[in-house]
Amino acid sequence: MNLYAVRAIYAFEMARTGRTLFQSIVSPVISTSLYFIVFGAAIGSRITEIDGVSYGSFIVPGLIMLSLLTESVSNASFGIYFPRFSGTIYELLSAPVSWVEVLLGYVGAAATKSIILGSIILATANLFVDVQVAHPLWMLMFLVLTAVSFSLFGFILGVWADGWEKLQIVPMLIITPLTFLGGSFYSIDMLPPFWQTVTLFNPVVYLVSGFRWSFYENADVSVAVSFGMTVVFLLACLFFIRWIFASGYRLRS
């Protein structure tokens, strides 16, 4: 294991966050605060409680998930796409590193940034509403698993994209709608039966549900199913990335 390389990639990526602090940290915090104002104050005045939890508190796990997913995908995809775009990828491809070390560096850094961001949003949410965490360890595990899974997905996106537009399209047209429709701001029990069934095909439902359970012990689907689906998604991404490196897809011509 080339640990020096893992450290070099990780530090390089984290330093990029330092240079783009406003974009990486401040901007999502401002967005989240706006969500609280719009959803919490405007809609929350009409929906008082869901499953015994005030609406403002209910949306906190969903909001954290929303940022966690979009930031994990965008950080990891940008991290690997930019060297491909600028041509500096030659150095990574010619270095004595395996796909595992590359992932530990890039995905590790992207997931770290997302987890820091999720923690900041949780702290920010505490300023607006009362937030209880019933199962802190499970909460942390869902946070880490989701950040890692979607950073892996972002890495795949960054390898697949052959232009800035494609890099933006997936988070904008797939991740964000799936998150909004995945029960971030409502319980899927509130939907008509047909749409409840349709919603179960949305993988984000399982992430939000499991994460919300760790806060309030309320879940749309079983926690075991949520956990299992997250692990399946993580493993699927890992296998796909392993194939990318074995075949050289979009990396080695």
Partner: protein
């Protein structure tokens, strides 16, 4: 002892069907400076990229210091440093950070003394905190060289390292290359400035249309394939070469003031004695004679043209 690089029957066909390398075999010894020459699109960069692990080969085998580049990629890649043709840099990073990054990426612990030595040798030390985006093209090229040297490679690939750089950097770079050679580093370079290869290289390989045309020790190549030119400076200009001198295949130059005779240095008879005798018989008077040897560039162009015909 294994060769520094051993390439056997290497093939590369790109996805579009373009066959960039055709059965390339080549051996490069430890500590030599090897110049790989060829026109644009000949396959030089593809060959380098395969050895470095950037491009997958379609067939054949490459070994670096006896190790297979696929099975023992950690070993082979840690031995190699690459200065790519393109000016691909981390534009937002500082010079020092990007060179330290390269050292770590290639599995070496932080060594500020070595990084400082490399940066000073490339006159980059004063610019160590500057962002790369603020540097000139020549300075960026120096950064790429510094990155390639950061992990103390035993084999250094320089792919068109002096393209678009000033004379000062070229001199600095060749000084570094000579110093590396003294420490036993193997240097493989491609360049369009063939006079550089002529000055620096121990051996020369010529590649064209994906095939190795020849690999030869530079002095021997110039001796064997080089031609000498005898220029006869005439007292009176000529309108045409006299018929009596036709057998010597002379050419008129300098508005008829010079006769140019080309001869093979390796031939048993150069034909100079009979030429001079025939000139006297034909009444062609001259006041000076000069000779000149072919440059590597002329040999290279000649080789590439011959293969193209």
């Amino acid at each position: 002892m294994h060769p520094a690089i051993s390439v056997s029957h290497l093939e590369k066909t790109y996805a579009g069907g373009f066959r960039a390398l055709k059965d390339v075999s080549l051996s490069i010894e430890h500590g030599e400076i090897f110049a790989l020459l060829g026109p644009n699109g000949a396959g030089k960069t593809t060959l380098i990229n395969i050895v470095c692990g950037i491009v997958n080969a379609s067939g054949g085998e490459v070994r670096v210091d006896g190790h297979d580049i696929r099975r023992d990629f950690r070993k082979t890649r840690s031995l190699i440093g690459l200065v790519p043709q393109e000016l691909a840099t981390d534009t937002f990073e500082s010079v020092l950070a990007t060179v330290r990054f390269s050292r770590g990426l290639f599995g070496k612990p932080r060594d500020d003394a070595h990084v400082e030595k490399v940066l000073r040798s490339l006159t980059l030390w004063e610019k160590r905190d500057a962002r790369i985006m603020t540097l000139s093209g020549g300075m960026k090229r120096r950064v790429l060289i510094a990155k390639a040297l950061a992990h103390e490679p035993r084999i250094l690939f320089l792919d068109e390292p002096t393209a678009g750089v000033d004379v000062e950097l070229r001199k600095d770079m060749w000084q570094i290359v000579r110093a590396l050679k003294e420490t036993g580093v193997t240097v493989i370079l491609t360049t369009h400035y063939i006079e550089e290869a002529e000055q620096m290289a121990d051996r020369v390989g010529v590649i064209n249309h994906g095939q190795i045309v020849l690999v030869q020790e530079k002095r021997r190549l110039m001796r064997e394939l080089g031609k000498r030119e005898l220029r006869v400076h005439l007292q009176e200009p000529l309108d045409a070469v006299p018929d009596s001198l036709a057998q010597h295949a002379l050419q008129l130059a300098a508005d008829g003031q010079e006769l140019v005779y080309t001869y093979d240095t390796q031939a048993e008879r150069t034909g100079i004695t009979s030429l001079l005798a025939d000139l006297g018989t034909a009444g062609v008077r001259f006041n000076d004679l000069t000779t000149r040897e072919s440059s590597l560039e002329e040999i290279f162009v000649d080789l590439v043209r011959k293969k193209a015909v």
